[in-house]
Symmetry: C2
Subunit: 211 residues, 2 copies
């Protein structure tokens, strides 16, 4: 088994933190996204979507999605449960993870990919080229600010995003916030969001955050 | 338990088909999205995100996301497994479901919400208003055409999207394709996509598709 990876990139980092929480080590193969290695015929044969992370199982099965990879490890090693235990908790974590991804991670990506000069023509990840849309750079930033407020409101009554237990939802939200620091000018947690700041300090201090 | 619903809308339909496959019946409460009932104070108290479907459990827990709701029912009634059995199948289904959502369902939504006159100022679902971006109407259509080709390629070697078994991934993709029929002009499966047409005929003929 091996993990196609790009050290420092936000999507593979979701898997790194998840694996660190599970204390699972997987050999990593670096794919250099900066030089376009994901578009080579060799990598397209591994993942036609031209993205990392990809988990390559011993039988050749390729899992080409970060949450798909996390689901794999949650199933082979349920402890600690990062997608929850029991129907209601599993449902709340899945929902919170998806909300953090859609309203946070993808909003930052929208701002970043539509404003970064080196990503001209690459407004969306994947095998197809799409032109940057300047209005989306601004919209993405606005969405991120709404995301901070929505997280802050959730965390006023919860220790972690989906309730009393740290979960995959916290990983996605933490990395979305880190990713917001890549924007120019960068977006950081507003002073008004004290619950969010408390939570962010806690999740960032976990050993897994250094994975 | 009850399901806040809007008959005919694509997102709640994902839950309807899932429940029909499981042969589970849940009482439904209609929320009229056309008159903006999702923005009333009453509905915001149920879901601050102003979206349906929402599953309201007997203890008052609200599951506000379509896949979160499906996860709930998969856990309380695993049979038939629509998110798979075993680590590799679960991972492949999660990945295929997410790909169908991102590259299919959201691409149609991008085209639809950025081109429909009645949705001016409502380019994204949720509590916040975002202006339509004409370039996204066109980009969304382009993405849908790529989605058809990508599905066709997958289905050349698989009976269903994630392998030999019907799953939540097939539900998302089927409804994305139905939703593409809402576009003006509508987008339909190209004649060149014979594998996709074969699959679409099969999934649409299942009794659950009429749910």
């Amino acid at each position: 088994m091996k993990l196609y990876d790009c050290a420092g990139a936000p999507s593979p980092r979701r898997v790194h933190v998840f694996l660190a929480e599970k204390r699972i080590a997987v050999p990593r193969v670096q794919v250099d996204l900066r030089t376009g290695e994901q578009f080579t015929p060799e990598f397209r044969a591994i993942n036609p979507d031209c993205t990392v992370p990809v988990l390559d199982l011993d039988d050749g099965t390729k899992i080409t999605d970060p949450i798909g990879i996390c689901v794999y490890f949650e199933t082979v090693q349920p402890d600690p449960p990062l997608f929850g235990a029991g129907a209601a908790e599993k449902a709340l974590i899945a929902s919170a993870q998806r909300q953090a991804e859609r309203d946070g991670f993808y909003a930052v990506m929208e701002a970043f990919r539509n404003s970064t000069p080196g990503l001209a023509g690459r407004a969306l990840p994947g095998p197809h080229d799409y032109a940057q849309v300047p209005a989306l750079a601004e919209r993405g930033r606005s969405r991120v600010l709404h995301f901070f407020d929505a997280l802050n409101a959730r965390l006023a009554t919860r220790e972690f995003l989906a309730g009393p237990r740290y979960s995959a939802a916290d990983i996605t939200a933490m990395i979305a916030i880190e990713f917001a620091g890549w924007l120019k000018p960068k977006l950081t947690i507003p002073e008004s969001c004290s619950h969010l700041a408390r939570w962010y300090a806690a999740v960032s201090a976990r050993p897994s955050a250094k994975a």
